[in-house]
């Protein structure tokens, strides 16, 4: 693993508000690392500190062993892409893209050649002489990317680059960025609140919450093996079941049981996070891990269905079942439910358990 950006113990306070606390991670050379978190998690602040647009109160930023913490923005040679493009209104597309080179006083021919190269790369050749207000959002963001890439930066920093675009354009650009990265291989740091984006694009994800790092791992790791309740709830939809630990299992209601609480003490309160697609309808009444639940609502979503299930003790879970497995189940029926792959955490963090319904809706 070749070392790219190393972030050590970044801290930043704005007035009385602690925006970033002890954030450390490494972004591998040539890979895309995503900073994922809800708004207010401090991820943009971290990115801006890496860029040099904000000064950390404490901590260190290095690139390939070279310290960057005190270097002014202009000297860091990091490309930055803003959420709202920040294109120079009074300059044409060509002038925008060439700006970083013009500032470094490169020759006119060199600038022209490089700008042409990038226009080709971002597929905006016919728009070279247009002005930003004549472009669509997606086009503007491509110009912004080209502009950031023109001076051959060592690192590319993207601050919610697709946040201001509508859904379809966002998907397109996401795919396009992926291709671009494969071709160029620039070390990239992507800030996003869209977990689908992070999971799809990134080689490694740093999940942030309230200014701190929650978990660092590959997309698969953070999705399948969340190590904190926040990650379990934020990444992917999750049902949260409240219960108590008995013999390494979470018990709730009369007899209902979920495995996976070995790490917690007997008798302790626990929360089990279960993904909707891990709520299985089983026919096996004998299995101690399956138990009845009442179907409150079935919503047909085309190829899957969303089932709202209520357990005897009143708790509700959302299940996502492929239609072919569903059969003739309707409202009011009682089904056997098996909860798989639960991630169990102790509920000492005073967090509001996310409503499974909302979670489900968020990721569709």
């Amino acid at each position: 693993m070749s070392v790219g950006i190393v972030i050590e113990n970044l801290n930043k306070t704005f007035g009385t508000f602690q925006a970033v606390t002890d954030v450390s991670f490494t972004a591998e050379d040539g890979k895309i690392t995503a900073l994922l978190g809800p708004s207010g998690s401090g991820k943009s602040t971290v990115l801006r500190m890496i860029a040099g647009l904000e000064r950390p109160d404490y901590g260190r930023i290095s690139l390939a062993g070279e310290e960057q913490t005190n270097k002014p923005v202009q000297e860091r040679r990091f490309g930055f892409v803003f959420q709202h493009y920040a294109l120079f209104r009074h300059m044409s597309v060509r002038q925008n893209i060439g700006f970083g080179l013009a500032v470094r006083k490169e020759s006119k021919e060199a600038i022209r050649a490089r700008v042409d190269e990038l226009l080709d790369l971002v597929q905006l050749v016919p728009f070279a002489e247009r002005y930003p207000d004549q472009l669509s959002g997606g086009q503007r963001q491509r110009v912004a990317l080209a502009r950031a890439l023109a001076p051959r930066p060592r690192v590319l920093l993207l601050d919610e680059p697709f946040g201001a675009l509508d859904a379809r354009v966002r998907q397109e650009l996401r795919r396009w960025l992926d291709d671009l990265h494969r071709e160029l291989g620039v070390t990239s740091l992507l800030v996003t609140h869209d977990q689908e984006e992070a999971l799809e694009l990134a080689n490694e994800v740093v999940v942030m919450h309230l200014g701190r790092v929650e978990q660092i791992g590959t997309p698969s790791e953070i999705y399948n093996h969340p190590t904190t309740p926040f990650v379990a709830g934020f990444v992917g939809a999750a049902n949260v079941i409240q219960g108590h630990v008995v013999n390494g299992e979470v018990r709730f209601g009369d007899h209902q049981v979920v495995r996976g609480a070995e790490h917690l003490d007997d008798g302790a309160a626990a929360q089990a996070y279960v993904r909707p697609h891990d709520v299985r309808l089983g026919a096996d009444r004998e299995s101690p891990l399956s138990f009845p639940a009442t179907v409150e609502r079935v919503s047909d979503l085309g190829w899957t269905s969303k089932l709202r299930l209520r357990f005897p003790d009143g708790q509700v879970v959302i299940a996502q079942i492929p239609n072919e497995e569903l059969g003739e189940i309707g409202d009011g029926d009682v089904v056997q439910v098996d909860l798989r792959n639960a991630k169990v955490f102790s509920p000492d963090a005073p967090e509001i358990a996310p409503d499974p319904e909302d979670q489900f809706a968020a990721t569709g």
Binding site: Q74, F80, R89, H90, P151
Partner: protein, 287 residues
């Protein structure tokens, strides 16, 4: 100073209560009042001046310009107005920038002080300058000792005009500065541009219309200034006599036609400048 009126919007008006006869009469009388105002109070007096000045052809103008000191007065007026416009364009922009972007203790006080010339009578401005730089004051005496004459000299005129027109430039540039997107400047910096380059290539193009408008307003205001200059300059024919004071002298000498002719010229110049300014600071339609 606020901005100009916008072009009329073209949304349809709803019918209904607004077409009641009482309302229509009310609206008619309002329109009449406004028309009356515009016509009587504005257009009429102006036509009186133009008619008087050029009713007998170009002779009154020629006579006026042939008077001793007339040519110099016009030249002095234009010159001092130009210098004022340029100097205040530079400093006014710097001050606007500082007031918007650079926090420092006492900034809001300075912000208020910048408006002072709007409130103070121009005559009092002249008196203040005489009090500060007049030959009997310590500063004035000192300056005269080293050969710098302020009162009864062109420098005094400049100081008065700079004082009076400062808020014009600052207040024209400030709102535009406030609207600038700081992200554009951050982008420039992330691409390697230093502070001055960022200012020159990113901020200045956006500010240029406002700075020009402010400078033109300052110029237009300066060529018409009377109250302060009549005190500060001494009105020495051929040396510190300005056009407005010259016009005043013409009226006191019972030469109204010549006064009207020169007035028309002066007015035509300032009005065209104001028109150009309005085009420059035409506010963008709010979305």
């Amino acid at each position: 100073m606020s901005t100009t009126l916008q072009e009329p919007r073209t949304t349809a008006r709803p019918a209904g209560p607004s077409s009641r006869p009482g309302v229509r009469l009310g609206r008619l009388s309002l329109r009449a009042t406004a028309l009356l105002y515009l016509g009587l109070l504005i257009a009429l007096p102006l036509s009186a001046v133009v008619a008087k000045g050029f009713g007998r052809g170009l002779m009154p103008l020629r006579d006026a310009l042939a008077s001793p000191g007339a040519g110099e007065a016009i030249r002095l007026t234009l010159f001092t107005a130009a210098v004022t416009a340029i100097v205040n364009a530079v400093f006014g922009t710097m001050i606007a920038y500082v007031l918007v972007r650079v926090p420092f203790p006492g900034r809001s006080l300075v912000n208020a002080i910048v408006d002072l010339p709007f409130a103070i009578p121009t005559l009092v401005t002249g008196v203040m300058l005489v009090a500060l730089y007049g030959p009997t004051s310590p500063i004035g005496g000192f300056l005269e000792g080293i050969g710098i004459k302020v009162i009864f000299a062109q420098l005094g005129i400049l100081l008065a005009l700079l004082f009076i027109t400062l808020p014009l430039v600052v207040r024209t540039v400030q709102p535009v500065l406030l609207e600038l997107d700081p992200a554009e400047e951050e982008a420039a910096k992330s691409l390697g541009a230093g502070r001055w380059t960022t200012f020159r290539k990113v901020m200045l193009p956006a500010l240029r219309p406002a700075i020009t408008a402010g400078a033109l307003l300052a110029f237009a205001r300066s060529i018409g200034e009377f109250g302060s200059i009549v005190i500060v300059s001494g009105n020495i024919t051929g040396r510190t006599l300005t056009a407005p004071v010259f016009i005043f002298q013409l009226t006191q000498q019972f030469r109204p036609e010549e006064a009207a002719a020169v007035s028309t010229l002066l007015f035509a110049l300032s009005f065209s400048l104001v028109l150009i300014t309005e085009r420059l600071i035409r506010r963008r339609e709010a979305v």
